[in-house]
């Protein structure tokens, strides 16, 4: 039977409740992986390659064993069969090149930071000190750093071919031509003289995830029975358990993975890392707990990086501004090895280059390229920020070419709200959206016309500080999700999510989720969803997560999926629990289940509200089982596993006004407006936090952050003194608002929010910087728009030889 579960004014859905996990976190009542102290623990330190590319000609760990407090040391040789291979679960093409990825390098190193040997000691200082005693000789090989050079014939290769001959640095080539090969060129040709084509080469630079808590792992073979317990600062305890079983050969049913408090991930902890494999294998071999905690310096070289694409993008439109099509060719830097979804990460963006726009043809090609650099993988947005940057930047360039206002050009080409559901030229069907409404609200908050007037005035007066306006009308696909679609893309796993809800005899609720929060506020938001259905106070709901022993089913947290997918599982499980409770309550109240309504946490007989039974009483009856209806089993719990039919498509309009000091090149954001449409909001305060953090993340990419290597593959941004992460002081106050267009493919009407700000903001900022300098002849500024990059762009445009 289908019945809308009645909610009341007391429903916590949509309320900006403060996060109930915060008091504990802020008072230090926390349990980070580094805090796990087990008797007999051995601390692992890792010797990492100082060379980007070299043969290991000599490696001897024996002297390290003589150092005080050292218990063991291993190179690949000593580890033997336990030196597992780090897995990649997304072989995107049949002919993808998937090189061996041993946990400890065997005979050559391929990036600075590559793992060469480990020392195990009874304290972490002794372990670190003993690394000095390991003897290694390297024979340097030419390093491959530049992607365009890497794919030229004759380039040194990062990996030999499978047969030992000279390899290629092309990992894979992935085309997407929904209208068929040559369709783009044909459409442009058909438009003849009426076609305007704009081409650009954009560089979406490499960045780090930069979580506040570095990675950490503790592997203990001291569990109950044969259990190996692994605590890890990970986003993906469930996936990690499956993969560790596959890699190590340990039975999956003897592995328990716990993600305790995890201090941020941003994609960097969506991974199975070699340190995790090493900790498990060595704990297994030595029979003692093994602990490894990453230093910040290691985080810079050994936690996967993100982005790093060179994009050749071409847009065609008619002279009056109607888009014809888009052609995109990207080089995507894989780094030196393929980590969990390295090859698939740029392809998460391939459907999104057309953005919110209608066009007839779309032509995409991606070449994955190996280089002697830290592997790349998902970092907040994962493929979609790169796509959004490209389309939103080139729409501005096209507007200049057509002499049109950039917003007017967008309005002419975007999908209007009446046109949903809409199947794009890339082949995705967006369920819903209202770009007009979000844009109207953003323009209203921004004061677009006044800022344009000020821009004119500053240009006219020759003010050294010029003003620019940048637009980003973005959408994204998130909520990873549909298992069949992921399978069709050759992703090994599915995208479902699970929830179990237990009504305990004392009336408390245990909500077991397969999502794995690391700062998102799931404990509060999930309680709000369940509370709205069960009528139980938010504080009476305990959310259990991040432990495969207590929450055995789940696909974890990444890709803005937790609410979009996990939220639906909560709803379904809660509704199922109410239905079982209804049967028991009807028996207790001596009526038919159809005669009951469930309001504010109690079953009431319709028309006779004095006769009622609260859920807690039903739960106690299910526990005592003294008087259950025939055929009803004791206990009151329900579970649900949801596999959505489609992705989630949040959208929004971000506007940035920036002041650019043309003398120093410094860009300072004056106004930033973000109007996002993430569908129904469970907790607007948490949404607000996600938008702020995401926008800050994207602004950081636009203006500050960049991983830099020298030509020999040495990491130049090896510390946070050189890799600039802005703080609150460097960022403006954001003006945010939302429009609410409920998703029609999601049972809660929700969409994802975790990545939206990071996806939307880089093009808004760079469009603003370029707009400020357009009259000086500038038509691009490389990210990050650092003072020197801005100053050089001006010098070049002004004819200076820089």
């Amino acid at each position: 039977m289908t019945e809308t579960i009645a909610t009341t004014d007391a429903s916590p859905m949509g309320r900006p409740l403060r996060r109930k996990e915060d008091a504990r976190l802020l008072h230090g009542q926390t349990n980070w992986t580094e805090n796990i102290q087990l008797p007999g623990t051995l601390h692992m330190a890792i010797l990492r390659s100082p060379m980007a590319h070299a043969k290991i000609t000599h490696l001897d760990i024996s002297a390290a064993l003589e150092r005080p407090h050292v218990v063991a040391a291993f190179s690949a040789k000593e580890l033997g069969d336990l030196n597992g291979s780090v897995p990649c679960v997304w072989p995107v093409t049949d002919d993808i090149q998937m090189p061996a990825f041993p946990a400890l390098a065997v005979d050559k190193v391929v990036h600075v930071g590559d793992c060469v040997a480990v020392v195990l000691a009874t304290d972490k200082y002794a372990a670190a000190d003993a690394l000095d005693a390991i003897e290694v000789d390297y024979e340097p090989l030419p390093a491959v750093v530049d992607m365009e050079a890497a794919i030229q014939p004759g380039s040194p290769s990062v990996h030999d071919a499978a047969d030992g001959s000279h390899g290629t640095n092309v990992c894979y080539t992935f085309p997407l031509q929904p209208q068929g090969p040559g369709a783009y060129e044909a459409a442009v040709a058909a438009a003849g003289d009426n076609a305007v084509v704009v081409k650009r080469r954009f560089i979406n630079q490499r960045i780090i995830a930069g979580a506040m808590e570095p990675r950490a792992v503790v592997a203990s073979p001291m569990g109950m029975s044969n259990e190996m317990t692994i605590w890890s600062a990970t986003q993906i305890p469930h996936i990690l358990r499956v993969l560790l079983a596959l890699v190590t050969g340990l039975p999956e049913n003897s592995l328990r993975v716990i993600a305790p408090d995890v201090g941020g991930g941003f994609g960097g902890k969506l991974q199975i890392y070699r340190e995790e494999i090493l900790a498990v294998q060595i704990a297994r071999k030595l029979g003692r707990p093994v602990k490894w905690v990453e230093t910040r310096s290691e985080d810079m070289v050994a936690t996967h990086h993100g982005r790093d694409q060179i994009q050749q993008i071409e847009i065609a439109a008619t002279k009056d501004g109607k888009f014809i099509g888009l052609k995109v060719e990207i080089l995507a830097n894989m780094g030196a090895y393929l980590q969990i979804i390295t090859p698939g990460t740029p392809l998460l963006g391939m459907f999104m280059y057309p953005g919110i726009y209608k066009m007839d043809v779309y032509d995409f090609n991606c070449i994955g390229v190996f280089t002697n650099t830290t592997p790349t993988d998902a970092v907040r947005g994962a493929g979609r920020p790169e796509a959004t940057f490209a389309i939103e930047r080139i729409v501005d360039e096209l507007a200049v070419e057509l002499n049109m206002d950039p917003m007017a050009l967008r309005k002419m080409n975007w999908i209007t709200h009446e046109e949903f559901p809409y199947t794009t030229s890339a082949g995705l069907t967006y369920d819903t959206g209202n770009y007009e409404a979000a844009t109207a609200k953003a323009l209203d908050l921004f004061g677009y016309d006044a800022l344009r007037a000020e821009q004119e005035q500053r240009r006219a007066s020759g003010d050294p500080v010029q003003l620019g306006i940048g637009i980003s009308t973005f959408t994204e696909m998130c909520g990873l999700a549909p298992s069949r679609t992921l399978g069709a893309l050759k992703y090994v796993a599915g995208g479902w999510e699970h929830c179990t809800i237990r009504a305990l005899p004392t009336g408390k609720i245990e909500l077991i989720t397969g999502t794995s929060p690391h700062g998102q506020g799931h404990e509060t938001a999930w309680s709000q969803i369940a509370s709205s259905i069960l009528g139980v106070p938010v504080d009476d709901i305990e959310v259990v997560h991040g432990d495969t022993g207590r929450a055995p089913y789940g696909m974890d947290t990444y890709g803005s999926r937790s609410l979009a997918v996990g939220g639906q599982a909560i709803k379904k499980a809660a509704e199922r629990l109410v239905e079982k409770a209804r049967i028991i309550a009807a028996h207790q109240l001596e009526c038919s289940g159809d005669d009951l309504e469930f309001v504010q946490g109690e079953f009431r007989v319709k028309g006779d509200p004095a006769k009622s039974q609260p859920l807690a009483a039903v739960a106690f009856e299910a526990f005592s089982a003294h008087n259950l209806p025939d055929g009803v089993e004791p206990t009151l719990q329900a579970e649900a596993t949801v596999d959505p039919d489609d992705f989630s498509y949040p959208h929004g309009t971000h506007l940035c006004a920036i002041e650019v000091d043309t003398e120093t090149g410094k860009a300072t954001i004056r106004t930033y407006v973000a109007v996002d449409d993430v569908g129904v909001q469970v907790n607007p305060l948490i949404v607000e936090g996600q938008v702020h953090g995401g926008v800050a993340c994207g602004i950081a990419q636009a203006l500050y952050e960049s991983v830099e290597y020298d030509k020999d593959g040495n990491l130049l941004t090896a510390s946070l003194a050189d890799y600039l992460i802005p703080s609150a002081v460097d960022l403006p106050s954001f003006t945010t608002d939302r429009t609410v267009t409920p998703s029609t493919t999601n049972s809660l009407g929700t969409k994802g929010v975790g990545e939206a700000g990071a996806i939307a903001s880089p093009p808004a900022v760079i469009n603003a910087v370029v707009d400020a300098l357009r009259h000086l002849g500038v038509n691009d500024v490389r990210m990050p728009a650092s003072p020197e990059n801005v100053w050089r762009a001006i010098q070049v445009a002004q004819g200076g030889a820089k």
Partner: protein, 285 residues
């Protein structure tokens, strides 16, 4: 933080500290606020055998009025310096600049003397010491020695301190009447070191600049005086155009490095722009 092992001593007086420094030999290292040394230890870029922590030596802290100059104990924190009434009155350039060092947490622990002794070319306070013609007071087993700021900063992270000497205090001359000052700092994030910084002190005589001092941060291995700018400013009209013309010489004789934050060429450009701004602001033009 996983530093290499070291011994640690915490003397209570300057004389005890000097004895400890002598005892530790050449591998000893003095630490006070630790805001520069601790990151170096964390990265294992330094491996001192002994840390001599002078942070609790009371006689090395505080600001006193010594007539024509202020005597600032080397342990005085940036926070204390920037808020000290004597510093604000007689060396406002120092108070203003101390407030730009890093972030509040660092300013509460980092010390004035430590910043000078560290001799980081990107440090702001050495530049101010140079512009204000301060004198560094060092004490060692052979007694007390005074070193003028222009002789103190020798090279990258190298001062004129002998290995057995401790920087105990700094004499900062009071700027007389008619002097106005400004520190123009340019960095990429609020907490970052200066890409380039310019300290300017100007004495105006009605419509002209009677006297000017300009010192540059991060334009070479040590802070430098932009002497050709100073010469050009002396007697110049106190106008934006005249100051801009004088500032065109700001990069003369500098030796800036190229790094991730700026190339040498861009630093030279910034030196000119920032010198103009610093002098214009200092002169109140």
């Amino acid at each position: 933080m996983i530093p290499i092992a070291f011994d640690y001593v915490r003397p209570g007086t300057i004389d005890e500290a000097i004895a400890a420094v002598v005892a530790a030999g050449e591998d000893g290292k003095v630490i006070s606020g630790g805001q520069s040394l601790m990151p170096v230890l964390r990265l294992r870029l330094a491996a001192p055998s002994t840390l001599i922590d002078v942070g609790s030596i009371a006689e090395m802290s505080g600001v006193t009025d010594a007539g024509d100059h202020l005597l600032i104990g080397s342990n005085t924190t940036h926070y204390a310096v920037m808020n000290d009434p004597l510093v604000k009155e007689h060396a406002p350039l120092l108070a203003q600049t101390a407030a730009t060092v890093a972030d509040p947490a660092i300013r509460h622990r980092g010390t004035f003397g430590g910043s000078l002794a560290h001799a980081d070319p990107a440090g702001d306070l050495p530049t101010v010491a140079l512009a204000l013609e301060a004198t560094i007071v060092a004490k060692g087993p052979n007694g007390t020695r005074e070193i003028e700021a222009k002789d103190f900063f020798v090279d990258y992270f190298t001062s004129a301190l002998e290995p057995d000497e401790i920087l105990v205090s700094v004499k900062v001359p009071k700027l007389g009447k008619g002097w106005t000052t400004h520190y123009e700092k340019f960095n990429r994030t609020a907490q970052a070191w200066a890409t380039v910084g310019v300290a300017a002190a100007v004495r105006r005589d009605n419509g002209t600049i009677a006297e000017a001092r300009v010192a540059l941060t991060n334009m070479g291995p040590s802070p430098v005086r932009a002497s050709s700018v100073e010469a050009a400013l002396t007697g110049a009209d106190a106008t934006v155009d005249a100051i801009a013309a004088a500032s065109a010489n700001a990069a003369d004789g500098t030796r800036p490095t190229s790094d991730l934050h700026a190339s040498a060429e861009f630093r030279e450009h910034l030196a000119r722009v920032l010198t103009k701004r610093a002098v214009v602001t200092a002169a109140g033009v």
